[in-house]
Amino acid sequence: MSDPMRIRAQAAGDKVTVRVLMSHEMETGQRKDAAGKVIPAWFIQEVTATHNGKTVLTADWGPSIAKNPFLQFVVKGGKAGDKVAVTWTDNKGGKRTDEATVT
């Protein structure tokens, strides 16, 4: 099973800045291992972010996103105590959701 994400969601005024770190190899499918065998592609393809249960952002990613991906976005009209959740899905069907409370 994949390791948890780290989600920091901080309110300033009526905006919430969300920073997410995801634990993922983001293997491009272009690299070879020591034996010269191609390492199969394995990367996050879809990301969904919700604010109090409502989808506010979705993303499609390719293998060019760096290993252990970072994502920052700003939710309008949020406040401390709100819930922000992020879900990723990778090309092998792996999936993970984590949630944070806005501070």
């Binding site: 920091r8 879809e46 499609d60 760096a66 991906p69 984590d98 409370t101 501070t103």
Partner: protein
């Protein structure tokens, strides 16, 4: 002021959501725009996503360092001040897969996203804004990738 640790502690795992997931239905996988990610340049990627010819615009911005010490992780961002944006794209001109990310934005988030990309070599990075009315605008920034360390 809260310490980072306290903030981290509040980020809780939603294990329940994982439990029932199992394999994804094919319909969910099909949503990923394969053709766009297979494109070899910005125009083709935009076209594959249903957009027209991109026009350079001061109202779109691409952020990032002028120079990256390592191409494996390069912080980049895309933003626009234009109203009515549907999608923001990040592309790395000289990567094998030019398109790095497609952000489908809603009115509930600012049209300002930051992430980190891999860059095989020094290259232009493009931010593209695809608007609700079908127009497409872009901005470019050159990021130099240097070689740090012993190189062995």
């Amino acid at each position: 002021m809260q310490t980072r640790r306290e903030m981290l502690a509040r980020s809780a795992t939603v294990a329940g959501l994982l439990a029932g997931a199992g394999f994804l239905p094919l319909s969910a996988m099909a949503a990923w725009p394969q053709a766009a990610f297979d494109s070899k340049n910005m125009a083709d990627a935009v076209k594959a996503l249903g957009g027209g010819a991109p026009v350079e615009s001061k109202d779109v911005s691409v952020s990032g360092p002028d120079m990256a010490e390592n191409g494996a992780v390069v912080p980049v961002g895309c933003a626009t001040t234009l109203p009515g944006v549907k999608r923001l794209l990040l592309l790395v001109e000289k990567n094998p897969s030019v398109l790095a990310a497609v952000f489908n934005v809603t009115d509930a988030v600012e049209a300002n996203l930051n992430t980190r990309v891999k860059m095989g070599q020094s290259s232009n990075v493009f931010a593209v804004a695809m608007m609700n009315d079908g127009k497409v605008f872009f901005a470019a920034k050159e990021i130099k990738v240097t070689l740090g360390g012993c190189g062995g």
